[in-house]
């Protein structure tokens, strides 16, 4: 009986340690995680659901997390897997235009969707909202596998090797997904904003 109680106590103190570690990881990474989710789903409501679901899953499997891997790499795998599952389940995720009137679930009807501060420094103002919108829409047109590869490479800055680890594919697959994804994206953006690719813009 005594051993059973010590066992419970030990398990509890270990849980506490893991929980504290996990809490700190959530606190440190939730913004980056949200950004990834937002770029994948293209709208705030789905991004919030996805990020919450991913953290809950990460919490459930936290004892299997291999500390030799950076947390965000492991977490990105969970998040992108969840995203693909959800994408297949729903057929195609609804995408909400950022200009559309947003009727939030808590009755904030009639307000336009609150766009997060998208221009933290003046340099980034170079891309107008119209262009940003075109790029995000172009991303939304890619298949989920291509989108994930392109976003992980160009927005999150992962190496091909890391992307292969996150998506559990070979480097060759990653290379071809990024290449084809970028080409499709280029064609999409070019269709709407050919001026973004004019010679004068290139340098």
């Amino acid at each position: 009986m005594e051993t059973a109680m010590t066992h419970t106590a030990v398990a509890q103190s270990m849980d506490d340690r893991l929980q504290r570690e996990f809490d700190e990881l959530v606190y440190r990474h939730y913004q980056q995680a949200y950004n990834l989710a937002y770029r994948l789903t293209g709208n705030a409501a789905d991004a919030e659901d996805l990020v919450q679901e991913a953290f809950l899953r990460a919490y459930r499997f936290f004892d299997r997390y291999d500390r030799s891997m950076p947390f965000m790499n492991w977490f990105s795998r969970i998040l992108t897997n969840l995203y693909i599952d959800e994408y297949r389940r729903r057929g195609r995720l609804r995408t909400v235009s950022i200009d559309e009137v947003y009727s939030g679930e808590d009755g904030e009807e009639g307000t336009t969707m609150d766009l997060p501060d998208t221009a933290p420094n003046p340099l980034e103002r170079a891309l107008s909202n119209e262009y940003l919108h075109a790029i995000q829409e172009g991303l939304q047109h890619l298949s989920p596998e291509f989108r994930i590869a392109v976003i992980l490479a160009d927005l999150e800055g992962y190496s091909y090797e890391e992307i292969a680890e996150i998506t559990k594919t070979s480097i060759g697959t990653v290379r071809s997904r990024i290449h084809r994804g970028r080409k499709q994206l280029r064609d999409q953006i070019k269709k709407r904003h050919p001026n973004l690719f004019e010679r004068g813009d290139l340098k």
Binding site: A4, Y30, E48
Partner: protein, 160 residues
Amino acid sequence: MNCRYVQSRLSAYLDFELSGDEQQLIRSHLEACIECSCEYESLRRTKQLLRQIPTVKPRIRVLSRCCCACVRRRLWRRALRGAFGGIRRACGSMPLGFALAAAILFWGRAADTETSPITTASPTPSYFTPSNPLSQLLLPNSPPCTDPTLPTCLDALPTL
């Protein structure tokens, strides 16, 4: 080295993901071939555009939603473990204990997806310490949060 081969590797070249030799070969091909260098420029521009996409900041409720989901699960598990320990000590029979554990675990999993507030009284969890940044959000004696977007599940936490 033909154009098709070069064009299939332009993205990898752009990302410096080729071997040194291959990187060199493609560079010299690009200097000589206008078609490939146009293709390269447009891909470079695409990557440049993507890199300029700014990061979005989540609304404050995102953090509390993520925490709430985990805290809810945590409290359930703790309560269930307590109950399981008591039952095991009381009955001492292994098969019965396992059956109960399976039932309780299944119940716990199902409870995770529920949104109903928790009514379980739980011992003071030790992660509510001032050193834990998240406890700032969750400690009851921290200044009351006036953000109306905070989910109501915070109210469902047991009083400490």
